[in-house]
């Protein structure tokens, strides 16, 4: 399945709107998408066929994975080949099943790779040949926000795929936000920089949309995202060698940007409106020199609107990160964990873990494990609720808010750690020092579980509809309500 197959699937399901009126890449298309997020709850996707100045040359693909808050995994499930109404547990369990069966990619010849229908090389390279959108009016430039960055570890040869934003600087230069602990543009780049040699990269837009999930998953060091993309799709990814680098890229990509990051070179990146809902300011970041661009006819360019709810990047992160944490918790021995979700309204700042409480200190162990997890880089608050609290259904957020409001005793159950955790420069609570050093974030953990030592008599009894009213009264009310 490539982006076009996926668009066709959306069309068949009545979830794709094609817009043929002329729309500018400069905020107009984005404004439409932001309205779609809010008004239609992200249920439809839309393709702009007539982007001002780019008609017939390239298209914008909005809301391509954004989904309703009550089912943030809806389009993700479709990308995984599941029905659009697949429940959260169905999606989660299928994701986990496929996670355990990665498949090595296969290499195809350049002649069989649609991503090479057109080639721009050397002085002909022009990033402005594509309608990268201006997403917020305060942004420092036009951005690519959903794509896959490919770079090789110079020590081990491990090739990492990751999702990182990219700002267009000029016809042949880009720059992007680097966050300290990320592999590609941070750890690997610094290894090249220490050797004073350029870091080859490829930047891929499109291909199989499942790549966006593999590239966004927290895989262990050394694991190849290309293998996991194949596992998720249940067939190997088809890769082709890049034109100017020894890296391999998805053969059905919409656009492939190839080049090098030069050592010890920085350009200002940002500002950009971020997922936190706040603007991240201008800062010097590494520079990507573009040597070659290959692309398909009339390529599709997806995008996400940082800070708008409920955005495409949120839908991806809300679909895959909780599943990944659930998997890691079970691998670590926390088998009593029933489910993991993100509270959609709190973005990354609200990871919820529903768990039974099988022995004394279990919750403390779980809290300590989560407190140190890398996921805390992006969001700093975790909520633990009892295993019988439904966080799998469409009303999961309401259920969690109720637990937070009623089951967490402010004196006993709120745990704040010291301000010595890693953080990202995007964290709005960070002062300037913290943003620069990447250290200084606290964690807040809400223990909304029933204390292990409580006796049966002490355990509070929830009020449920079935307890409130006898069935006779309920049935009558239902019949009257229908007629209203």
């Amino acid at each position: 399945m490539d982006y076009r197959d996926y668009a066709e699937l959306l069309r068949k399901e009545g979830m794709l709107i094609e817009i043929n009126e002329e729309v500018s890449w400069n905020l107009e298309a984005i404004c439409y998408t932001a309205m779609n997020y809010r008004v239609e709850n992200g249920q439809t996707a839309h393709i702009f066929n007539n982007v001002k100045g780019y008609k017939g040359k390239a298209r914008l693909f909005g809301s391509f994975v954004a989904s309703p808050k009550k089912a943030p995994h809806q389009k993700s499930a479709m990308i995984f080949g599941l029905p659009k109404d697949a429940t959260w547990p169905t999606f989660r369990d299928e994701f986990l099943r496929r996670f355990d069966h990665p498949l090595k990619p296969i290499v195809v010849e350049a002649g069989d790779a649609v991503c090479k229908q057109h080639v721009m090389m050397g002085k002909d390279v022009n990033l402005f040949a594509f309608p990268w959108p201006m997403i917020h009016q305060s942004d420092g430039g036009r951005y690519g926000t959903i794509q896959t960055h490919i770079i090789e570890d110079p020590d081990t040869g491990w090739v990492n795929w990751g999702n990182y934003r990219m700002m267009i600087v000029s016809k042949n230069r880009m720059t992007g936000l680097v966050v300290g602990v990320q592999h590609g543009p941070s750890i690997f780049y610094q290894k090249y920089e220490a050797r004073n040699i350029p870091a080859p990269f490829c930047y891929v837009v499109g291909g199989d949309p499942i790549i966006n999930f593999a590239a966004g998953t927290n895989l262990p060091a050394g694991a190849a995202e290309a293998d996991y993309a194949g596992g998720f799709r249940q067939e190997p990814m088809k890769l082709v060698r890049a034109e100017t680098q020894k890296l391999y890229v998805p053969a059905d990509a919409e656009i492939v940007i190839e080049g090098v990051m030069m050592p010890y070179e920085r350009l200002d990146e940002g500002p950009q409106g971020e997922y936190t809902g706040f603007v991240h300011g201008r800062a010097p970041m590494p520079v990507y020199h573009v040597h070659c661009i290959t692309y398909r006819d009339n390529p599709l360019i997806p995008y996400s609107i940082g800070g708008a709810t409920f955005s495409d990047e949120q839908a991806i992160s809300q679909s895959l990160t909780p599943v990944e944490i659930y998997r890691q918790l079970h691998v670590a021995g926390f088998k009593a964990v029933k489910d993991v979700r993100f509270l959609p309204d709190l973005l990354w700042d609200g990871m919820v873990i529903a768990t039974d409480n099988p022995y004394p200190s279990y919750i403390q162990e779980l809290r300590a494990w989560m407190e140190c997890h890398k996921v805390g880089l992006w969001g700093t608050q975790f909520m633990f609720v009892d295993g019988d609290v439904d966080i799998s259904g469409p009303d999961f957020a309401s259920n969690v808010y109720q637990e937070m409001g009623t089951k967490a005793d402010p004196k006993r159950d709120l745990f704040r750690s010291d301000n010595d955790h890693l953080c990202t420069p995007l964290n709005p609570t960070m002062d300037e020092k913290g943003k620069k050093t990447g250290v200084g974030a606290a964690r807040l953990l809400w223990d909304c579980t029933t204390p292990y030592e409580w006796t049966k008599e002490e355990i509070v009894k929830p009020v449920k509809a079935a307890d409130l009213f006898p069935s006779k009264v309920l049935d009558k009310a239902k019949s009257v309500y229908k007629g209203l």
Binding site: F128, H136, S138, G140, G141, K171, L267, P271, R282, P284
Partner: protein, 88 residues
């Protein structure tokens, strides 16, 4: 040639003394239509009275907020090598 440019306040501050003296400066600016960053040699002023042919230069903060308007008379668009020297 662009019809208007943007520039970060911090980039203007780096050459404020030269601007105050009416001297030529080399600065990186952002094309307000395409958002391409280019480095130019030119003269910047608060008004275009003494800068015939100058075009608007919108000054923005590090968070992208509008800070005011200046004008720039572009004498030369620099090549990429010069751009590297002028930025950040």
């Amino acid at each position: 040639m662009a019809e208007a440019y943007q520039i970060f306040e911090a980039w203007v501050k780096k050459v404020k003394n030269q601007i105050d003296k009416g001297e030529e400066v080399t600065v990186t600016v952002i094309d307000a239509d395409t958002f391409e960053k280019i480095t130019v040699r030119g003269k910047i002023g608060e008004s275009k009275e003494n800068l015939p042919g100058a075009i608007p230069l919108k000054v923005i903060s590090d968070l992208g907020e509008k800070r005011g308007n200046m004008f720039i008379k572009v004498i030369e668009e620099m090549d990429e090598l010069s751009s590297k020297a002028a930025e950040t």
